[in-house]
Each structure stands twice: as structure tokens, then as C-alpha cells.
Symmetry: C3
């Protein structure tokens, strides 16, 4: 991989920052401890200035309120964001039109818009549409009638099942499954489960990222829908007909049951469970391990199981640990009350 060297003056301009010191060129970005000569690092808090002063980076991205350093700096209002933009710029590689490897298997009637890089041992079904600059790594299996946008990256061993619709700039990590059947059964009189056919599909909009070994079930009818900009961590379960709004964050091992709708800007911590057929509003935050059993209004912050106000949960959870003390106190109160009551009777 050829690294590009870029002057900090140029990088500062990209992020509306100001540069100070020598206009050095850098070709990479690392964390404060790991950055060496020729690399940028960043601090997002001036409490890290001491560590910053001792680092081996060639230049630093710092907050606007940072004091003077002997190193060249780029001053910005949001160092984490600026570092990310700059890092992407430094890592950027032009897409290599590797085409379709002869050891990949492509079905009939497929439509490929432009440059693609399809690795060996990829299987693409019939009537699949691929946009521009799609990279499909080894072991990926794509079913029939799948539509994939441009600038999409499918990591190794991803499975995209029939009829899925994938937007632009989507990244899907290894082992993820998009479009498996939902978990729905009718039951006969003997209590046997009869599988409901799942004839719906999955729609994944632009700029979504789906983590490793995530499962997204197709709609029973209609679609399961993950909207623009939402990011999903590893091992998450998205059931049939779920809708997830834009710019949401779903942390690892969470699960959303069937037909639940999430708004925009929702945050689910790790291992959260959301029951089926709920309506979760915009900008709702669900703390890690929450079990959400009810609809949630816009902006709600909930925790616990069944989930309720996070603020109240913190107090309740603190008292849970002290339940033995509370129980002891109640026993003592009872005893004292008994004594007082008896003394009173004796007084008469």
C-alpha cells in the first residue's frame, strides 16, 4: 500500500482548522502512544496535553483551547471528527477495477454498472445488480434478485439472501446474514408449529454499516428496513419487519423483535432487548442490558428491565444492592414498634 504524504497546512484546510509550527508532511495517523515520526496523533481534551508533549508524532490535532506545544499542530473545534476526516484522506486508495475473479460464480442476467472487485469463491445469484466500485470479498454469497448500490464493501463470508436491496456506501462485515427468514409460525391444534412463508425482503439504505455475524431477517410480507447512516455492531439480531431510523447506533449483542419501529438517532447500548410491535421514538437512548417492553417517546432515556427512566433506574439499582440493609431495618422497626406497643399496653 503506497502511503501518501500530505502537509498539515493542506490537512488543516480540509477540516476548517488552523495550523501552527512547521508545515510538516505526514502519511499516517495513530494514537498518542503509538504515533511515530511522519505520523499525526490527536488529543480531544486539553487534560492530555502532558502526554501530548511527550509523544513521538510529527504533528498533533488539538482542541481550540490547547496551549502551545513544541510540535506542529492543527487546531480544530472537534479533534475526534477532524482526525477521522484526515485519517480517511491519508488512507484513501483509488478503487482498483479488479473485475470479477474467474473463480467467482456469477448467475444469469446480472447487471454490473462499472468497476467492481469480486474475489475468488464469491457466488452471485441471478439478476443481481451491482453499482460502481463494489468490492465483494471471498466467500460472500449473494442470492437472486439482489440490488447493491455503489461504493459498497462486503467483507468475507457475508451472506445476502434473495431480494435484498443494499444502498450506497454500505459496509457489511464477515459472517453477517441479511435476509434470513423471520421467526414466525402458525400453530395447529396439536401444538405443532407451521412455518409462515417469509416473502418480504430487507432494505439497507445508504451509509449503513452492519457488524460481523449480525442477523437481519427479511419481512414476513414487505420489508425489514435499516435507514440511512445507522451503524450496527457485531452479533445483533434484527427481526422481521423491524424499521430502524436514520443515524442510529446499535451496540453489540442487542436484539430487536419483530415489527418494532425505531426512530432517528436512537442509541441502543450493548445487549439491549426490545420487544416486538413497539414504537421507539426519535433520539431514544436505551442503556446497556435494558429490556424495553413499552413504546418510548422521543428523547426518552431508559434502562433496566422492564425498562424505565434511566435516572430513576440508577437510584433503584443502587438500592437493590442495599436490599439486605433495607430488610434488616424493616425487621428492626417492627421489633421496636412491637416493644413500644407492648410498653404502652404495660403502661396502662
Amino acid at each position: 500500500m503506497n502511503k501518501r504524504k500530505v502537509n498539515i497546512s493542506e490537512l488543516a484546510a480540509m477540516v476548517d482548522g488552523e495550523w501552527r509550527g512547521e508545515d510538516v508532511a505526514v502519511d499516517g495517523l495513530a494514537d498518542l502512544a503509538g504515533a511515530g515520526a511522519g505520523q499525526l496523533a490527536y488529543i480531544d481534551d486539553i487534560r492530555k496535553m502532558t502526554a501530548a508533549a511527550e509523544c513521538s508524532a510529527s504533528a498533533l490535532i488539538v482542541p481550540l483551547d490547547a496551549g502551545q506545544l513544541s510540535l506542529p499542530v492543527i487546531k480544530v473545534s472537534d479533534p475526534a471528527w477532524a482526525a477521522t476526516v484526515i485519517h480517511h484522506h491519508l488512507l484513501h486508495q483509488d478503487f482498483v477495477d479488479a473485475g470479477i475473479d474467474p473463480k467467482a460464480v456469477v448467475g444469469e442476467g446480472c447487471s454490473i454498472a462499472g468497476a467492481v472487485a469480486v474475489a475468488p469463491l464469491v457466488v452471485i445469484g441471478d439478476r443481481v445488480e451491482l453499482g460502481h466500485r463494489v468490492e465483494i470479498r471471498a466467500g460472500v454469497v449473494i442470492g437472486a434478485d439482489v440490488k447493491i448500490g455503489s461504493d459498497v464493501l462486503l467483507h468475507p463470508n457475508v451472506t445476502i439472501l434473495d431480494g435484498s436491496v443494499i444502498g450506497d456506501r454500505v459496509i457489511i462485515h464477515s459472517g453477517a446474514v441479511v435476509g434470513s427468514d423471520g421467526f414466525g409460525y402458525a400453530h395447529d391444534r396439536a401444538g405443532r408449529h407451521l412455518k409462515k412463508p417469509h416473502v418480504g425482503y430487507v432494505q439497507v439504505d445508504d451509509d449503513v454499516e452492519i457488524g460481523a455475524n449480525v442477523c437481519v431477517d427479511r419481512g414476513t410480507f414487505g420489508r425489514t428496513w435499516i435507514k440511512r447512516g445507522t451503524k450496527i455492531d457485531n452479533l445483533v439480531q434484527i427481526a422481521h419487519n423491524v424499521e430502524i431510523g436514520e443515524d442510529s447506533i446499535i451496540v453489540s449483542q442487542s436484539g430487536i423483535a419483530g415489527s418494532t419501529t425505531l426512530g432517528n438517532g436512537v442509541i441502543m447500548g450493548g445487549k439491549v432487548a426490545v420487544n416486538g410491535h413497539l414504537k421507539i421514538g426519535n433520539r431514544v437512548t436505551m442503556a446497556g442490558k435494558a429490556g424495553v417492553m413499552n413504546d418510548q417517546e422521543d428523547g426518552a432515556v431508559v434502562a433496566g428491565f422492564p425498562a424505565f427512566s434511566h435516572r430513576k433506574w440508577l437510584r433503584a439499582a443502587a438500592l437493590f444492592q442495599k436490599l439486605p440493609d433495607l430488610a434488616k431495618e424493616v425487621r428492626e422497626l417492627r421489633k421496636k414498634l412491637q416493644e413500644l406497643s407492648e410498653k404502652k399496653s404495660a403502661d396502662k
Copy 2:
């Protein structure tokens, strides 16, 4: 896919229903909102009659107590079940004997009973037996000495490891792993873990469905056994030597630890954990997120962690939220009791 058009009189006869209105032909089934001309929809509750009256379906499956509609209807005692039976009938395609794709790899000594459809880039080990009408999609890997029954569907990128026994009409979804080693170690004096060999196997009986990215570990010795008709949702963990009875339902992200036995008709909600070496009776229901630490009698309904009676859990969980109020009340009682006690002393 060629669609079949079937008259509702014929469909009604399949599900012991009665039809009313014009004997229209339909070629598909959808939900009430999505069904269009030429399609059936269904309602399972007469409270949906208003919506039903406005739908665009060509005919409806309705409960016996449904009033009159302008649309042709099929009246049945269980619309969800009838709709599922009819939907399968409408979707039915004869199995296409596609054979074994030349880009699949098949080991030595395999036995294939009849028509199969083995996709490219499937790997089948030595001495594997396949029944009739087995469909194995791309990227599936089957180990040695695996037996697979008839009418089985293995979705892409499934892994079935050596010695597994799979019954008839089993469906396994993408990314599922059947037959991985159990998690068992001996420990030496230095605290190092020495892997126990896992020489058992997995047996999956008829009509079982296994979700995407599920893990079913093989027995340490003997078998891990999933019995007839049990349905397992995505991302579930089934440890070594677990036995799951017939017609059970295990919702997503649940886990069952080693050597636990579940009866027939058990229901596990999402994210349930069941400890190892337990005996869970028939028709036990474990609510979502339960952590089951003890044996459960037939018909038990449990929740919470450690799991206890669901009915009692509902009350305890409601009180958990009010712990701050309870603690406050105890403080006030103590104070009042103190005052009363002091007043009493002062009175003397």
C-alpha cells in the same frame, strides 16, 4: 417463478373452510395493507373488519364470527393457520433436480438417494448421506460422515460438522454451525486449561428449523439432541449434550448450557439463559431475559434472574422501580417511630 392461480373454493376445501361470494382465483397472499388484486389477505380478529373492508385484496380469509364483507371470503376457525397452509400451497414449486454443480466438491463414498440441488462452492465431506430433494446452497460446508434426510434446505454458508445427523424437512439458516466442539476443559495444577476431546455428535430431528448464526455444539460423549418440530431463532447457543424436546420454541439470542434437558412444548423468550445440568419440564415458558438456575416442573412459567414465578416476578419488578419510594418510607417510619418513642419517654 411461475405463480399458480387457485380458486378460493379449492383453497377453502384445503383448510376445512367455507367460502362466500365470487369464486375468484388468487396467486398469492399478503398482509392486509400490502395485498393487491389477485391476492388473498387474512384477518385473525374481527376487530380488523374495518381495515379489511378497505383492503385491495381479491379475497380474504376471516374468522368464523366475521360479519359480511363485499369481498369474497374463506371462513375458518383459525385464520392464521389457514393462511399459512394456503400460502404454502400457492408458493409450492416442484423440486428441481439440479444435481450437483460441477463447482461443488463432494468427498468419497457419499450416498445420494435421489434428486438434489447442490450449489457451486459447496463442500461435502466423505461418506455423507443425502436423502431426497435436499437443497444445499452456496458456501455450505458439510463434514465427514454426516447424514441428512429428505426435503432438507441448507441456506448459504451453513456449516455442518463431522458426524451430525439431520432429519427430514429440516431448514438451517445461513451462518449456523452444527457440531462445533463443546466448551469443556480439564485443568492442570498450574490452572491451565486442557481441552476435553469432543467425540459426540449432534442429532437434529424432523421438522426442526435452526436460525441464522446459531451454534449447536456436539456432545462431549454421546449426542446433543434437538427433537422433532422444535424451532430455533437466530444467534442461539445450544451447548454440548443439551436435549431439547419436541415442538419447542427458542427465541433469538437465548443460550442453553451443557447437559441441560428441555421437555416438549417449551417456550424460551429472547435472550433467555438456562444453566447447565438442569431438567426443564414439558410446556415450561421462560419469559424474555430470564436466567434459569433451577429445574422447572411441567408447565412452569418463569421470569427474572434467578428465574421464579412469572406472576410473582411481575409484582417484584414493579416494586423494583419504586424502591426509592420504599426506602424513603422506611426512613420516615424510623423517624416517626423515633419521635413517638422520645415523646413517650418525655411523657413519663
Copy 3:
């Protein structure tokens, strides 16, 4: 598979045991119920002596304090450990240098130290290094610049992404993903998430075992590091930059958030969640379903959420079930106190 027959005198010598009775030869080991002629079984507790006396094994491994049996025995201080050592010996097969299957795809510049067994439909990237006796089963995808030690076993459909470093005697089960991107984003002013590039890697040290469908994310910068002898069960999530010490045990469906460090000999029960940026000491035990939100000192034993002392948690959890009783008692105390208080006033 040819079975080897070994005399119990020889096996006893391997595990510092003493043998009694006839010096029979065995070729396998099974559990007490399943062992037949020609096989060993073991009991780890003399309470199982009655069952042992009735078993069909040809010989038994028993604790030192076991009484006399009619069967030949090997007496050892730790039967579970001895049985495991002996079982490995009986199962041992010399590595077969099957080489690289012509249907595997190997990149450029790879370095292979010695005998390997690479199955069909494996894809190995550029500049990969393999040690001695590496077995890579079908469907495995290995990225570029990966280093793999000796005596490593990669089960079918494992994914190892670019730059990962795998030690000796590592076992990775099907569907596991090593080296996926961490879940980290910067946020712009509009609340949109901008993916942080993940340029770190994963290091897996000697004797580690990684379960099926586990996810191990690469470091954002630097490494995610799993140290020697640690064993990880199925469906576990290891986030970016996590460090796990030696000889630790992580049970199924647990998750560790980013940048957390675990010491040596840590035990995580099933479904445990550990928050990010924590320091978990040596020999910490986290009970199943715990949610760990704080640093933990060496040897701590914690449970619950937020996790605290396991001993205290047991008492608190028992009281949780009795919350309705406690609340009732408080109501009664309030009533009695009220009566007493009123009576007192009336007395005046």
C-alpha cells in the same frame, strides 16, 4: 480412523497414576453410561462408585480414595485431568501432510513452513505465513499479511482478516471472525456518524481456543490481544483494543466492550457484559449475566447489574423475589404506627 490400542499400565504411567487389576488394552474413552468393551471411562467422585461398578467399560480411571472394583482401574489424584490426557493420547493421529488442495486459492508471497492441510475452497490472501502442521478446513478465508503459527486448526467457514497474528496450537471454530473493524465513530454537527478507520490488528497467542461465531474486532490503533491459554466459547463479542490475560475462560454470549483489559485467570460466566475502558484484575470471576460497570480488583467475585459482590448479590437477589412481602410489611408498619400514634394522642 485407525484406533490405537494401549495398555492401561502405559496410560497410568502417562498421568502419574497407579493401575490395579488386569493390564487390559483400550482404544477409546467414553462416559460411564456409554463406555463399552475396549473403552475406558472415568469417575471424578467416589459417590459414583455404584454406577461405576455397573458400567460396561473395560477399565476405569478413579480417584485415589476409590475402593476396590472388579474392573481394572487407574488411580489418579485428578481423574478428569488424567482422562483428558489419556483421551488425547488415544485419539492422536499423526498430521497428514495433505498439502494445499488445488481448489484452494492462495495469494502471492505466502510463506509455508512445513506440512499443511488446506482444504478445497479456502482463500488465503497475499503474504500470509503458515507454520507447521496447520489445518485449514473448507470455506475459510484468510486476509492479507496474516501470520499463523504451528499446529493451528481453523474449522470450516472461519474468517481471519488482514494483519491478524495467530500463535501456536490455536483452534478457531466455524463462523468465527477475527479482525473485523471495531465499532467506533466520530460525529459531525448534524449527528451523522463518521466511521473511524480501524488500522490496528488482532493478536491471538498460543493455546487459545475461539468458539463458533465469535467476533474479535481489530484494534482502532494497535492490537486487540488474547493471551496464552485463554478459552472463548461461542457467540462471544470481543471489541477493539480489548486485552484478555492468560488462562481465562469466557463463556458463551458474553461481550467485552472496547479497550477493557482483563487479567490472567479471569472467568466470565455466560452472557456477561463488561463495559469499555475498564481494568479487570487477575482471577476475577464474573457470574453469568453480570453487567460489569467498574474496575475489579484481583480475585473479585461479582454478579448482577451493575455488578457487585457475588455473595451480597445472592442475598439481594433472594430479597428481590420477596419485595412484595417487604412492601406489605412496610404498609402494615405504617398502619400500626399510625394507630399507636393516634391511640397515644387519644390517651392524652
